[in-house]
């Protein structure tokens, strides 16, 4: 059972994540209109926004502590927010600033926050093996920490995922794999790339439990994830979850989605997990005033994080040579001194 306070927590995280993506969408387009130039503006490079994925991050991370590990894929913001990653430093990283989580070296697909044991991989499914490793460390050290690997439905055909399921299963490791099924692997619909409609069935071949949450109902996600995480924490091994989510902002910014039927885009917009959890709260007697208050607080936090990030200094060029190693040899990086690209 999900308590009303837990509903509040999830609601706040979800509205934070949604508003965050909406604001980033605007910031990203600064300097990129009308000609869309991916390398222009204050946020350059690819940007994969997670609007429509919020229930998955909030429902799963509800059960996690700071000492639990999460790995996220190239679409990580909603998970990072729900895991408690420092929002200001994360935003500064996305803006490529010196005080960002990764000192401007990682960018939005590669967020790392050791304080809450959060890491990313920008390569499909490649966050799964490190999550298995975190679970291995927890088991060897007899802690009750767990690990969660988030991945997209496109990742379930990748060896790194399938091998991780097997390794986790044979060693009964405290890890949960969460597939966020948004129906699309960039332009490829799921039925073009796999005959298995329910990704959680991948679990069967590895003799571990698999469960699919058929809608992005945060309560249903929280209940399924609660069971899976408790199972891991109690030493009973891994679980595979799949959560139906919706892709509301294209694969990445700049994706015109010409390949996607208009009806599918509209459908994704209609199915709104945030509306649903707001209704859940109302049915528990929470007044609209309180929902407004939560939403305003969330918006303020995001606005603060973005304005803080934009005031942060950019890294200086020589910082490019730092952090290649933890213990740098005397002559680690070659000092190229490449005087600026154009």
């Amino acid at each position: 059972m999900v308590s009303v306070n837990e509903l509040r927590t999830m609601y706040e995280q979800m509205v934070t994540a949604r508003y965050y993506e909406e604001q980033l969408q605007e910031e990203y387009l600064v300097g990129k209109q009308p000609a869309f130039d991916i390398s222009a503006g204050p946020i350059p490079g690819e940007l994969h926004l997670a609007a429509g994925h919020e229930a998955s991050g909030a429902g799963v991370c509800l059960h996690l502590r700071d000492d639990d590990t999460v790995t996220a894929p190239h679409r990580p913001h909603h998970v990072a927010i729900a895991k408690g990653v420092d929002l200001k430093k994360m935003t500064a990283e996305i803006f490529g600033r010196k005080t960002g989580l990764c000192r401007g070296k990682g960018g939005h697909m590669h967020l790392f926050d050791p304080d809450v044991n959060f890491a990313c991989s920008g390569i499909i499914a490649q966050g799964c093996p490190p999550a298995v490793g975190a679970a291995m460390a927890a088991k060897k050290r007899n802690t009750d920490s767990v690990a969660v690997a988030f991945l997209g439905d496109g990742a379930i055909d990748q060896g790194g995922f399938l091998e991780s399921l097997n390794l986790a299963s044979v060693h009964d490791l405290p890890v949960v794999f969460v597939i966020e099924d948004n129906d699309w692997a960039i332009s490829m619909p799921k039925d073009r790339v796999t005959d298995v409609e329910d990704g959680s069935r991948r679990a069967w071949g590895f003799d571990l439990p698999g469960e699919r949450v058929d809608s992005d109902d945060a309560v249903a996600v929280a209940e399924a994830a609660g069971k899976a995480i408790a199972r891991a924490r109690d030493g009973n091994g891994p679980t595979l979850l799949e959560v139906q989510v919706h892709r509301r902002m294209g694969h990445f910014m700049g994706d015109a989605e010409a390949y996607r039927p208009e009806a599918d885009i509209e459908r994704a917009k209609q199915l709104d997990s945030i509306e649903r959890i707001a209704d859940d709260l109302r049915s528990h007697g929470v007044e609209d005033d309180e929902l407004d208050e939560i939403r305003e607080r969330a918006h303020e936090r995001v606005d603060d994080a973005i304005s803080w990030a934009k005031e942060q200094p950019e890294p200086s060029p020589e910082e490019a040579y730092e952090n290649v190693f933890t213990n740098p040899p005397a002559t680690a990086a070659t000092d190229g001194g490449n005087e600026g690209g154009d």
Partner: protein
Amino acid sequence: MAETVDVDSATVWPEDADDVTEAYLANWFVREGSAVDQGETLCEMQVEKVSIDVTAPVSGTVTEIVVGEGVDFDRGDVLARIRPSA
């Protein structure tokens, strides 16, 4: 001297971008003086991140490129002029 034919951006504007008024000229594939066949791709424009090929309305010679490469323009702007071949 034959009249020139306008290459009109409005005629190739995508139907689902009716509400958009600005576009960007991404690439020219011909130059002033080039001989082109009707239907040949002249340039590539970008509306709302979607690329659209603009083809020659008639066969002839490109007499003027009005909107240069890398330039923003408005719907209805003439992109180029072609003098039809006899």
